[in-house]
């Protein structure tokens, strides 16, 4: 007797979502910290809007995009930690004894991360709008923004899952957090790349894919419909997702180890 793929994904997704929502310690920080950083940056770096060529009148408008990517970073950590816990407690072995497919296991597991990503993104957007942000791309832009934020969260979640499956420990996930954070801070999160005066930082930010994720979201807020920024944002987010899923699938095969 074997269940259909959608049944497997659906039930694992429900489990992932239920357990995510039952852990406020996972949900609350990922909602609050990006908003706190947004509040600090938008008041502390307000003067940057006076730089010649700065692309927005309000620093809040400029900075909002970063919150979505920072929130996605929490998704990486949460998705990885949850999966690592399943490995350590033997829950993954229990699942391995059912007729479950590896792809269903991954998809179901990521569902919780995706839900959290969606919840975060909606909150960031609503808080931003309430604080005076006006999306240049309009209501349609909001939908596209949420779609891109969700894609980024899912991609980062897949990376977290891959890391968990490769290492099997929550500690490894936590240890990788600073590395991911370094990627965030060495990006165009605080300034447009063309206004960066330090050459090496501008070069790093230019080669850092995170810059394009932020710029994709930011473009919908401060520019309107910018095909190039959105193309790069969606393209790189998709590439991260594909890479994450491929790495997770390979690691899962090794981790399941069933004959």
């Amino acid at each position: 007797m074997s269940s259909a793929f959608p049944t497997q994904v659906g039930n694992l997704a429900r489990r992932s979502i239920v357990r995510t929502l039952r852990q406020p310690l996972y949900v609350v920080p990922s909602l609050l910290f990006p908003l706190m950083l947004l509040a600090v940056n938008s008041s502390g770096l307000r003067a940057a809007t006076g730089l010649p060529g700065f692309p927005a009148d309000s620093y809040l408008d400029f900075a909002l995009g970063f919150s979505f990517v920072q929130g996605a970073l929490f998704t990486t950590s949460n998705a990885g930690t949850e999966l690592a816990r399943d490995i350590q407690t033997g829950f993954l072995s229990r699942l391995s004894l059912t007729p479950i497919r590896g792809t269903a296991l991954l998809a179901g597991h990521l569902a919780g991360a995706v839900l959290l990503g969606l919840l975060q993104s909606v909150v960031y957007l609503l808080v931003g709008i309430a604080a005076g942000v006006r999306l240049e791309a309009g209501a349609g832009g909001a939908v596209v923004l949420l779609a891109l934020a969700l894609l980024i969260a899912t991609g980062f979640g897949a990376l977290g899952a891959a890391l968990a499956l490769r290492t099997g420990t929550g500690e490894a996930i936590q240890a990788s957090f600073p590395l991911f954070f370094a990627f965030l801070f060495l990006s165009s999160m605080n300034l447009p790349r063309n206004l960066m005066e330090v050459d090496w930082f501008r070069t790093v930010a230019t080669y850092n894919p995170v810059s394009y994720l932020i710029e994709g979201i930011r473009s919908l807020v401060i520019t309107g419909w910018d095909g190039q920024a959105l193309g790069l944002g969606f393209g790189i987010a998709s590439a991260i997702l594909v890479l994450g899923l491929a790495a997770a699938s390979i690691a899962l095969r090794g981790r399941l180890g069933r004959t």
Partner: protein, 325 residues
């Protein structure tokens, strides 16, 4: 008929990358409907054997067939025939008991209308109906083990693997689990492969017992047959005066070979059996030696273990199970 097949193992070996042979060439055969006890200390290779037989770990060498299917070539068929409660009750502390069963029934492909009824039946069966909607994180060890058992039974397996199912349980929970396992085997014909480090558990529950040590089976048979191999009872005398210990040991040596006993006791395996006890008492009295305690122990599985390995199972070195790949 496939449904009547149990477990057949020939020359099974599992060696890890660090060179340790956790399972070192074991042969065993478990008949359908039998409760087979796999008894040994921590680190003996019990859990590794279970992981191989449940297809979660490939063997390094040898063959194993479970329910008529090869564990390497037909792993997916083995998994449909077996249920397993592994060493740690692998449960999600944030889900309720009912949610666990709902997930397990769905993953095993049980039709949606039947899931609710089966879930209710299993919760009732393991005595968790009232706690069904509580999060598992708040369950006691016994409740977790019972839920673990219910999850293993979801797809009505013909063969059940229980890896140290009663470790850490209180006596009441242990007895309840024994009753349930007995019911499964004797009323429903489920084959049970049970690992344990508890002598009493193997003695009470298992139809046959294999004793494993350092990855090898050192004895196998019914508990009664194994104990009969030892045959003679053990006599333990605790000297009333510590200074008399050597003298008492010398007297007892005339009645049987010395063996391990309780820490303060002098112990011998009586050559003449229980009938020799009277003569022992007379000899001690004649020598003017007083004892604080004199006990006659019928042979136990621990005696079997001691005879086969030179160590007492209860005092065997505790080594972690070596299951890292």
């Amino acid at each position: 008929m496939e449904g009547e097949r149990g477990i057949e193992v020939e020359g099974l070996v599992r060696e890890f990358k660090n060179g340790i042979r956790a399972v070192d060439g074991i042969d065993l055969s478990v008949a359908a409907g039998e409760i087979y006890g796999f008894l040994g200390p921590n680190g003996a290779g019990k859990s590794t054997t279970v992981l191989v037989l449940t297809t979660l770990l490939p063997p390094t060498a040898g063959r194993a067939r479970v329910a008529g299917h090869d564990v390497v070539e037909e792993g997916h068929l083995v998994r449909t025939a077996i249920g397993a409660a592994l060493q740690e009750a692998a449960l999600d502390p944030f889900l309720t008991g009912r949610e666990h069963l709902r997930l397990q029934t769905a993953l095993h492909g049980i039709a949606k209308p039947a899931r609710r009824q089966l879930t209710a039946e299993l919760l009732e069966r393991v005595g968790l109906a009232e706690a069904a909607d509580r999060k598992v994180g708040g369950y006691s060890g016994g409740m977790k083990r019972r839920l673990d058992l219910a999850l293993a039974l979801v797809h009505r397996p013909r063969i059940l693997f229980l890896d140290e199912p009663t470790t850490g349980l209180d006596p009441q929970s242990r007895t309840a689990l024994w009753e349930e396992v007995g019911r499964l085997a004797h009323d429903e014909g489920v084959t049970v492969f049970l690992t344990t480090q508890y002598l009493e558990e193997a003695d009470v529950l298992a139809d046959r017992v294999a004793i494993i040590d350092h990855g090898r089976i050192v004895a196998e048979g019914t508990p009664a047959a194994l104990k009969a191999q030892i045959g003679r009872p053990r006599l333990e005398a605790v000297p009333a005066e510590g200074a008399d210990r050597e003298a008492i040991a010398a007297v007892l040596a005339d009645f049987g070979e010395p063996c391990a006993g309780a820490p303060r006791a002098v112990a011998v395996r009586l050559a003449e059996g229980a009938e020799g006890l009277t003569e022992v008492v007379r000899a001690l009295d004649a020598a003017g030696l007083a004892v604080a305690d004199l006990q006659l122990h019928a042979p136990s599985l621990d005696d079997v273990f001691l005879a086969k390995t030179g160590r007492s199972l209860e005092g065997a070195a505790e080594e972690p199970e070596r299951i890292e790949a």
